[in-house]
Subunit: 316 residues, 2 copies
Amino acid sequence: MADGRNGTPILCVGSVALDSVETPFGRAERVIGGSAVYFTAAASLFHAVQVVGVVGDDYPLAELDFLARRGADLSGIERRPGESFFWAGRYHFDLNSRDTLETKLGVFASFQPKIPPSFRAARFVFLGNIDPVLQHEVLDQVEAPDVVACDTMNYWIDGSRDALVDLLARVRILIINDEEIRQLAGEPNLPKAARWVQSRGPELVVVKKGEHGAMLLANDWLFFVPGFPLESVFDPTGAGDAFAGGFVGYLAQAGSLAPEALRRAMVYGSVMGSYSVEQFSVRRLIDLPVVDIERRMVQFREITAFETHVDAAPGR
Amino acid sequence: MADGRNGTPILCVGSVALDSVETPFGRAERVIGGSAVYFTAAASLFHAVQVVGVVGDDYPLAELDFLARRGADLSGIERRPGESFFWAGRYHFDLNSRDTLETKLGVFASFQPKIPPSFRAARFVFLGNIDPVLQHEVLDQVEAPDVVACDTMNYWIDGSRDALVDLLARVRILIINDEEIRQLAGEPNLPKAARWVQSRGPELVVVKKGEHGAMLLANDWLFFVPGFPLESVFDPTGAGDAFAGGFVGYLAQAGSLAPEALRRAMVYGSVMGSYSVEQFSVRRLIDLPVVDIERRMVQFREITAFETHVDAAPGR
């Protein structure tokens, strides 16, 4: 990919929210969150990002300064009168399930993504988890992206299914969790569900499985990365978006979708997801040293590497 | 391990059962099963096995001939008047959950493992999922095993907890699923739960996670192997015991618990578990060619391998 747009930032469109989170280990009130914030907090460690979203006049924009210092362009975050998107939730004892206590859409209810002219030449576009109708509108405004990566959720699979299935034809990488892809494809077997998705457009399907890791399914190969076995998971909120940020961020930096780049991108995604859950909100990602990212990359290799060929083998 | 007992067969004690299984893809009536049968069907591809169990006079012992042809010694399977242990179950649409329709203990209800004298010198002992009180009795009858590997289940964690916790002091490798270890340790975090187990004896904990793979936790390192992404999972029954058979079978063949051997053992375990589920009962393991085992071993490497160091890296 060397046609002069190599350096173009990733375009990220998603929610910019305030979250109140309760876990068995503590609580955080109205902390910064949302898919665009988690994505950018991770991706900006790898590549420049241009962010499009909307906040109310209650949003503590200064808390996003760390993103701007890394070169993220936040000029596409519209500030409108009213309240910011707010989500409150409580995680259960094992952190694998949660209850939503409150959702207030606020200004997000009437969000109409407007892509600034300087953002439209992006080669990599990340469509965070918003209404597929809006995801279409984003793509209508960009020029000719090479790589469109898209997240979604069960709410849209239920409520906006036709727009979502149409969207797949415009998406190169679908990023989705295991429960959601089963629901979308009506197929419990993940490899078969991925082929259902691929037949509708995306050549690459990334299935996120929470603590169980993530799987990348291409047409004729696949790759699996485990969840990092942390002793202290503090707050799972946003882990999937931090994963997507590490994944897309690394691909944009490498400027390649070659299998070796995709494999490393999957591990960088898992590294960012694993750090994200170590503290509330995006705190752990704010001052994360590059050396910590590389150290965990090596740890991922240590927990998965083995030799195939040795003297001992089956058949006595 | 070269003190002259290297060649001793693995001693396996467990259930020898008949299963009736219903899955979305078909049903099988009164087919051979049980932890000792699945374990031995896998382990005997790697190393000799001596089996101790009990069956009723209704058991089709001829169907175990394939094990004897591989060198498994079945002389420790006692045949008694009455019915064999029988289990009937039905798997749900996604194969991740099942209902038990019927359990008849039959002669298994009064099972008292008697270890034949020629079985007592075993270096590797596998205690299949039976009452921990009986697992103790097995260990009382063997001489000085180097490696005792033990499986259990929620039924014993609830109902025979003291005997089970006592048993841990005599076990070197605990093989258990994720839900069970959380229950046993009263701790949802897997690395912490494994440390709870390790503090009571076993230096190695293998956590089986079904379709999500398996994790080995040693004192200061760990290893993860994914579930093999099969498009056709036919019958999950016995996958955990086939895993244990590949795992312990390879270790006995290698005669080593060195980290590299343990890593390969985890993958061989996953290979055997993945083949086991491709057909009802142990059918897929009966004529499984060695070349298929090695091919899947290489596939496991292909779906997990990545390079850590390349030019592109975080920090633009």
